[in-house]
C-alpha cells in the first residue's frame, strides 16, 4: 500500500514539472530576443511523460522523460519599423515571435491541474485505506 503513495507522488512531481514548463512558456510568450541581441525567439517547451519511476526504480508511476522543444514554426508579424525586423530574405520586414499560443497553454495548464487533483484524490483514498487497515490492529 505504501508503494501506491510512491506512484501517486511520482505523478504529482511530473504534473508539477509540467505546470512549471507551461508557466515558463507563458512567461516567455513575448521573448523575441536572444542574449546576443538577435531576433531569436523563445521556442515552446513540452514536458514528455513516460511510465515508470526512476526515483524509486518502480515500474509503476510516471516521470518526465525529457523537456522537448516544439519544432513548429515561429509566428511572423509584419513590423517593418521594428528594430529587430528582418532586413532581407523571405521574412523581410517581419519579426519572429515565439510559437506559443496562450490559449493552448491555458488548456494544458488546466489539464495538468486536474490531473494533479485526481492524484491528490488517489493519495487521500490510499491514506484512508491504510488508516482502515491499521484499525485492525489498533
Amino acid at each position: 500500500m505504501f508503494g501506491t503513495l510512491d506512484t501517486t507522488t511520482s505523478a504529482l512531481v511530473a504534473q508539477r514539472t509540467r505546470s512549471e514548463v507551461i508557466a515558463a512558456n507563458m512567461a516567455n510568450s513575448n521573448a523575441i530576443q536572444d542574449e546576443n541581441g538577435e531576433n531569436n525567439p523563445f521556442r515552446r517547451r513540452l514536458a514528455i511523460f513516460s511510465t515508470g519511476d526512476p526515483a524509486t526504480g518502480s515500474k509503476t508511476g510516471v516521470h518526465v522523460r525529457e523537456i522537448a522543444m516544439d519544432p513548429s514554426e515561429f509566428q511572423y508579424r509584419y513590423m517593418p519599423d521594428h528594430p529587430l525586423a528582418a532586413k532581407d530574405g523571405p521574412h523581410a520586414g517581419y519579426v519572429a515571435f515565439p510559437n506559443i499560443d496562450p490559449m493552448m497553454e491555458q488548456v494544458d495548464m488546466m489539464e495538468a491541474a486536474r490531473a494533479y487533483e485526481a492524484n491528490i484524490m488517489v493519495a487521500e483514498a490510499t491514506k484512508s485505506m491504510i488508516q482502515t487497515s491499521l484499525r485492525l490492529i489498533a
Binding site: A11, T51, V62, A118, M121, V122, S128, R135, L136
Partner: protein, 144 residues
C-alpha cells in the same frame, strides 16, 4: 495461522479480498498517474473474475466435511495465480477507453469509479474482518 480460529467462517475470504483490493488499488493509482502519458494503456484486474474465483473456492469448501472451517483453495486464473499461500497478480491491459490523439487509452471517469468501488470494497472487507476479530475477542474474554 491457528487452525479453527483464523480460518473459520468468512475470514479466509475477507483476507483474500483485502489482498486483491490492496493490489488493485496500486494498478488504479498507476493508471491515474499516467493519465497524461502518451501511448499509455491502463492496466487492471477484473473484480468479477476474482469474485468467480472466490465463489468457486467457497463452494468447494462447502462440499468438504467441515464447510465452515478450513482455508480456501483458490484455483489459478489468467490474472490471479495461486503460489502456495500467496497470490500473484498479472494485470491485463484494458481497451475500453477512447483512444486519444496522444494514443493514450484513458477514461478518467471509469478509473475514478473503479477507485471509489475498490476503496469501498477494501473498507467493507476490513470492517467485516474487524467484526470477526471482535467476536473472537469477546469469546476469549468470556464477557460481553
Amino acid at each position: 495461522m491457528i487452525n479453527g480460529m483464523f480460518d473459520s467462517g468468512a475470514m479466509p475470504t475477507l483476507e483474500r479480498m483485502i489482498q486483491f483490493t490492496g493490489r488493485r488499488h496500486q494498478y488504479i493509482a498507476h493508471n491515474i498517474a499516467n493519465i497524461s502519458t502518451p501511448y499509455f494503456k491502463p492496466i487492471d484486474l477484473d473484480p468479477k473474475a476474482f469474485q468467480h474465483q472466490l465463489a468457486g473456492a467457497i463452494e468447494r469448501r462447502r462440499h468438504t466435511g467441515n464447510p465452515q472451517r478450513g482455508d480456501l483453495e483458490l484455483r489459478s486464473t489468467r490474472q490471479v495465480r495461486v503460489r502456495g499461500k500467496s497470490l500473484e497478480f498479472l494485470p491485463a491491459e484494458t481497451n475500453d477507453g477512447i483512444l486519444f490523439h496522444d494514443r493514450n487509452n484513458r477514461s478518467l471517469e471509469h478509473i475514478m469509479q473503479d477507485l471509489v468501488e475498490n476503496t469501498t470494497a477494501h473498507r467493507m472487507s476490513i470492517e467485516l474482518l474487524k467484526s470477526e476479530f471482535d467476536l473472537l475477542e469477546t469469546a476469549i474474554r468470556e464477557r460481553l
